[in-house]
Amino acid sequence: MGYNIKKLRNFCIIAHIDHGKSTLADRILEFTGTLSKREMQEQVLDKMDLERERGITIKAQSVRLNYTAKDGVEYVLNLIDTPGHVDFSYEVSRSLAACEGALLVVDATQGIEAQTLANVYMALEHNLEIIPVINKVDLPSAEPEMVRKEIEDVIGLDASEAILASAKEGLGVEDILEAIVKKIPYPKGDPDAPLQALIYDSHFDPYRGAIAYVRVMNGTLHKNMKIRMMSSNRDFEVDEVGVFKPDMTFFDSLSAGEVGFVAASIKNVADCHVGDTITNAARPAKEIVPGYKKVLPMVYSGIYPIEPNEYEVLRDALEKLQLNDASLVFDPETSLALGFGFRCGFLGLLHMEIIKERLEREYNLSLLITAPSVIYTIRKTNGEEFTIDNPVKMPPAQEIDVISEPYVKLEVLVPTEFVGPVMELCQLKRGIYQNMQYINPTRAMLHYEMPLSEIIFDFFDALKSRTKGYASMDYEYIGSKPGDLVKLDILVNGESVDALSLISHRDFAQARGRSLTAKLRKLIPRQMFEVPIQATIGNKVVARENIAALRKDVLAKCYGGDISRKRKLLEKQKEGKKKMKLIGSVEIPQEAFLAVLEKEE
């Protein structure tokens, strides 16, 4: 079929985790014949193992589908996948900017969740046509009418024509496709105007370089064209353009309204900024596609190899991960306790966890990760102002005039019976109450402003446990506020372990110190001598525990058959020792360093 902008439809799927986005995408691919049932490996779009395991999308790939509607007309549908987590909200917004419509998928047994709401609002801000889909209607606990009403009351969308579907059973798929064709407007754009193509994501291909995922807004993108990245003014020559079906399929050109990819021997994904505009170097557009911004890391952590000789492997691994993840930043760092490592910046805790898991799994590394830290802004008494991403960089208390920490706007969606415990939790975490609204008689939405550091310090788990798992949350950075913050240090056997330091609000510092020292006392094995563990703020000891000296470590019986077992035990012990870090003369295992990350009781 030739290019016809009126026959194009660009849409994405907005859904909370586990509400059925991927299954629905699978069904759509099947129904349109894009992939035969045999070719389908479940949830094709989520290519990465980790993505599949956690049921989330990390890379926002698109798929071009051909659909012949009931009216006999052949349409070209572009399904643009969106990352599904608050950590990646900027990527979500750029994917939305590539669409004209969105399927809003809500689980008929769960209803609307905080994250769905956040993404729907974002979609509305982008003027997308929203098609509500009520999924999992086949389940016995499904309540489609209640969800329909929720959509109308909470979001203010007309849900009278909401499609009842079951992605798992294949129900409603045709209705969804018809609705896409009928309700989502075709893209507006002039194929002859100067080229403006929005980069909404990218990935690194070892043979082709960085591949930009683009939505052409205006103009036409050709093979061999010289293109320009408007944010950096850097030029590249197009090697290939095409679409994903979902495998890469090459075209001669992409025109206004179309979605696909561009390969231009771009050496670095860092040169492919999400949200940037690609234009024709020979005939540049006057304006960029609005909405571009530089993404900044929110959470920092130190990553260290347990074995010093794996430093190079770690560095190579981080470099390789960065190839495909422009939002990962890292710099070499040294810790007195842990030796040589890297200070890494992440978009959020999930991002950090993903990176950590990939490093351990794909590169076989044994790692120590320090407590995550946000970025603090310090103004010293001498007027000097700077930011720190590592607690050890905090200057002594007497030199500090003001410390500021990042705050977020937090939204928590929770069943009404848990409103009390959740408000208590938010208050505990230094949240500032903004307001509350009732979505329906059974669910409430709470709005708070809260320091980001309190959120990354186990807030999500505490929220889930206080609400039996029913609460969902979303947050957005809103700027920095000053706080009464102090640095808590941990000393083991009199020696300060810099990797265990953290910055805490003064009111919480002593309690955190006590909890940490208690945890460390359990996690650090007894040594041949007594080991005191102390938490200090400045010079003041705020908590102290003692690990008694080891008195007995002996195998009473060792006869014939026991000998092999004992030998194997010895070997295991030696292996286990490799996972210990010697701080002074105390052996500290990996778990102890991870203790700082753990949930508080």
Binding site: K552, A556, K557, C558, G560, K574, K577
Partner: protein
Amino acid sequence: MVESLYIHVPFCVERCHYCAFYSTKADQPAKADGFRVALSREIEQSAASGGMAATLRTVYFGGGNPCFDGGRTVAAVLSMPCIRSRIGFETEVTVECNPESADMHTLQQLISSGVNRLSMGLQTTNDKLLTLIGRRHTYADFQVALSRAREAGFRDISADLIYGLPEQSISDWRIDLERIAALDLEHISCYALKIEEDSKLHDMICSGEVPAPDDDLQAEMFELASGVLAAKGYEHYEISNFAMEGRRSRHNLVYWQGGDYLGLGPSAHSRTGRCRFWNESSLDAYIQASTQGETTRHLIALGISDWIMEIAMMMLRTSQGINNEIFARLFGISPVSVMNEKLQEYIEDGLMDFDKGGIRLNERGFLLSNRIISEILTFSYNLDS
């Protein structure tokens, strides 16, 4: 060629609560018969294969309860021509038994079969604790069994004690020690209670029925035992074993001094040079294989470093420790070459002794032997190449 045999008799009336050795219930005479037949076949085959020395230095019957059938199995084995011909005046023949199995008839049967050493399980002299740990006798029963054994003619008797039992106090233990020290036994073994995963005690602890053992209390009990028994003239010759002069368990010393031994019966282990082999822990499989002319034997050969490490580790369990000459004869290298700088530290800390003869752990070192041994043994070069 081995000079030491171990025979595993896997039958018990009932399993004691702390035990994780392989055994089955002794309630099927047919099974016992099947076992005896299979055992004698295994023994004959081993003798015929040329692996047994012309004269054995030690023979040891363990299990289970080797006396579960009044000594019949033991007598049967010792009367086999291939065994009888290998037993000399100097051969130490040990049989383990429980006080409730030690009736006069059994004891006499053992003596007449050639058994010259008896090892009796006492565990504790506290009757309440005996019940708690699933033993089926009282202290009084033990005392009677002991006097019977003397009467039957046993002049080399050992008793086992366990300390750190649930709800056992240090004074309970002191009483055990004082009582046993007064019995004039030639040999005493004192074991710290270890909770084995497959034992009933393990379940009792998980359910909260009894408290878990206390390492520090066990340390105190170990020290008490050393003191009391040393004062009585016992030599603390291995971490858990005490003997009067000339009365060490020669069989067990084979394990600890790197000697070769042959294990017969289900779950029994063997060592010859760098080879380790063992029978599966299944009586049924043992019998079944035997009827088909096969064994349930598994074999591995250790690499050189593993071999040296294993022997070094075992030697350090004894008060003699690693003897330079013996080590050199076995491996062609000196003991210090497989140790690192921690050795110096431990000597300075008063946990190890070092002289012209060799290296050893002392009393304090025994208590921390796991930690010490795992820290000091090292290989600075790859011996396997």
